[in-house]
């Protein structure tokens, strides 16, 4: 793993965590990323707690240290406790999470590990539990978190570990 960041950052600091990162070098995609992030966290039909479960399952699979350390405040306010977060691991199917929450994590694993092999039984359970709008929103939220975490890993400069940090979603 690289010890240094592989790309520079914009010369002028704005105080915005994303605009001041390397992503700020590509203004054509910066605003669409911010607009999409805003919609995912403030407009999704599944709510921030479920979205945060998808984000953290992704973070632990991709092993993005930054993403793993972050807890969005709106997800905690929506009921996602650290006790639940601790259960977002490979043994989640035997955890005390609710069946709906386990289905959310199974959806994440489908995307992250075997998108080419959809188990018909899992597909049927997902379609029973969630509306098409909710499935679409979970898919868009997960794919965005996945792309951004892989982006952070690819750009290098990742520390070995970070403490858990609660923060607002970058606006």
């Amino acid at each position: 793993m690289s010890e240094g960041l592989r790309a520079g950052t914009p010369g002028r600091a704005t105080g915005h965590v994303i605009r001041d990162s390397s992503l700020g070098l590509v203004p054509e995609t910066l605003q669409p990323i911010l607009d999409l992030q805003d919609a995912i966290w403030h407009r999704a039909s599944v709510g921030p707690a479920i979205m945060e479960m998808l984000r953290l399952r992704n973070a632990r699979t991709v092993n993005c240290v930054f993403c793993k350390s972050v807890r969005y405040d709106i997800a905690r306010a929506d009921g996602l406790t650290e006790d639940k977060v601790e259960q977002i691991d490979d043994g989640f199917s035997h955890s005390t999470l609710s069946e709906r929450e386990k289905l959310v994590l199974a959806f994440a694993d489908l995307y992250l590990r075997t998108p080419d092999r959809v188990d018909p039984a899992l597909a049927a359970r997902l379609r029973r539990e969630f509306t098409p709008e909710q499935i679409a929103h979970m898919a868009i939220g997960l794919t965005t978190c996945h792309a951004l975490s892989r982006c952070a890993v690819s750009l290098g400069g990742m520390p070995e570990s970070l403490p858990v940090m609660e923060m607002p979603v970058p606006a």
Binding site: A7, I40, R43, L110, P115, R127, H146
Partner: protein, 164 residues
Amino acid sequence: MSDAFTAQLDSSSLTAVLHHAGGELARRHEALWQAVWRQKHVPAPVLELCRLRLAQLHGAVHELEAPPPRDARERLDAAKSRSVITGSWVRESCLSPAERSALEFAEVYGQDPQAITDELAAAVKEHFGDAGLVALIEALGVIDGRIRLAMMLGALLPREENHE
């Protein structure tokens, strides 16, 4: 599985399915998809070669057969696309050093971003600059994600016409 649910989609046909179910989120996701193809740091035909390679790595047959995104079509070289699909680009010299640097980066990105080396990143920067490296990484993430969604959402979201 119900007839209302399709087999695998591709990243183009995915747009309609997502738009029907996803509303404003889908529109914003589509806006990012369009933006990665229109940014000025890495030419769209270079990204198209990467899209084909990522589709191969996923075994996404429908994606390989899909038309290139609109912004990549104009300056596309069919021989180069073929060389990626057949795998001959590795030993032939049909690709420019710039295209090769992007494709070699995509090759590793598609398998494990943790395995990307400083040398791979430096080669991309030599041709496309720092902004080009960032634009390439962003594009690979969005393309890879669209391929994944296209493979799985056909089984989970109904086709538009079945709702009408």
